[in-house]
Assembly symmetry: C3
Homo-oligomer: 144 residues x 3
Amino acid sequence: MDAAAFAVLYAQVQQFYARQMQLFDAGDAPRWAQTFTADAVFDVPTLPAPVTGRAGLAASLTAAAGAASRCGVRLRHVVSMLDVAARGDGLVDVRCYALVYATRVGGAPRVHRVCVCEDVLVAAPGGGLLVVRRRVRRDDLAAG
Amino acid sequence: MDAAAFAVLYAQVQQFYARQMQLFDAGDAPRWAQTFTADAVFDVPTLPAPVTGRAGLAASLTAAAGAASRCGVRLRHVVSMLDVAARGDGLVDVRCYALVYATRVGGAPRVHRVCVCEDVLVAAPGGGLLVVRRRVRRDDLAAG
Amino acid sequence: MDAAAFAVLYAQVQQFYARQMQLFDAGDAPRWAQTFTADAVFDVPTLPAPVTGRAGLAASLTAAAGAASRCGVRLRHVVSMLDVAARGDGLVDVRCYALVYATRVGGAPRVHRVCVCEDVLVAAPGGGLLVVRRRVRRDDLAAG
């Protein structure tokens, strides 16, 4: 991939995460779930086991958003340091940092989580990208 | 807008915010005010009412920079998760997160604010971008 | 430099920092040192004097990684607000914010450092970029 094509991909990846994280933080479960492929695997330490498929993904966000709301906490997910590599097979590997900030109304914000996120992305049929597989590891948990 | 044109815009938007936030944190009121259109509306929770126009913008930064300096605090504004959409009319909508970090000499840094920033940008006559309208909401204040 | 060439450069710079910071946080001293030119100058407040050359750079990372490991702390370096300017001579000036997050296993994450990083980059012979000179200043130390 030449430098110009890489720049196009890099912007697309950044825009994808910006929208996906904002949908997550807004608790928009149906639209967030649509940013994954139908058979995507979502492996995060918050869940007892990996989730597969959009219905399960949407349910996990609805549960998480409800819990945050009951606690009076607003969460913001910020993805950074995107190391992006296009594979030959049309898939895109991304390794990045995912930080979560938590704020209560009337309270001081804090850094809630520092995570490493490893994604495999694929071009969506109608343009844009979809997550095929996501693995997240938290810095505050022992390596696993 | 095709993917190549979007990549050009996305880089331009990122560079715009990088420079604008650094001007703000440096307290460079005249040059920061020039990153807005002459009739820009700046609506942030720190100010009692929206500010319109560059003289008012510059005055608001001079006041904020003076207050931070008297408190011995250095502020850094970091914009992330840029969701960028070009409208048909030449304007660009940006919705992003704006985090503010505060550090005292000899002290530990902290996350001071977590905000959502909604901007409308326009191409500047001499190249680059300008803010037409900015609305910022803080996560620690009740929704308004 | 026109807007399209700038977008290519901007993506390249972002990818460079993503990989370089991840190599640093992984403690991969040999590969991290290779992201600098052979005669690069690395001037950071953590070190008593500027370091020149890859052997010294690698040794400084090995020492830092060992110290963090003994303390049970995982560090993540996040670079943001990249103000990128190509000079006429083929060098690239970057001024950005560098934030460091620290997390202990079983503990809450915290913002460890807020810094301003000023780099001069150059195109690497085999593609990509290298750091020619880096100067980092911490917000918690008096201006120097």
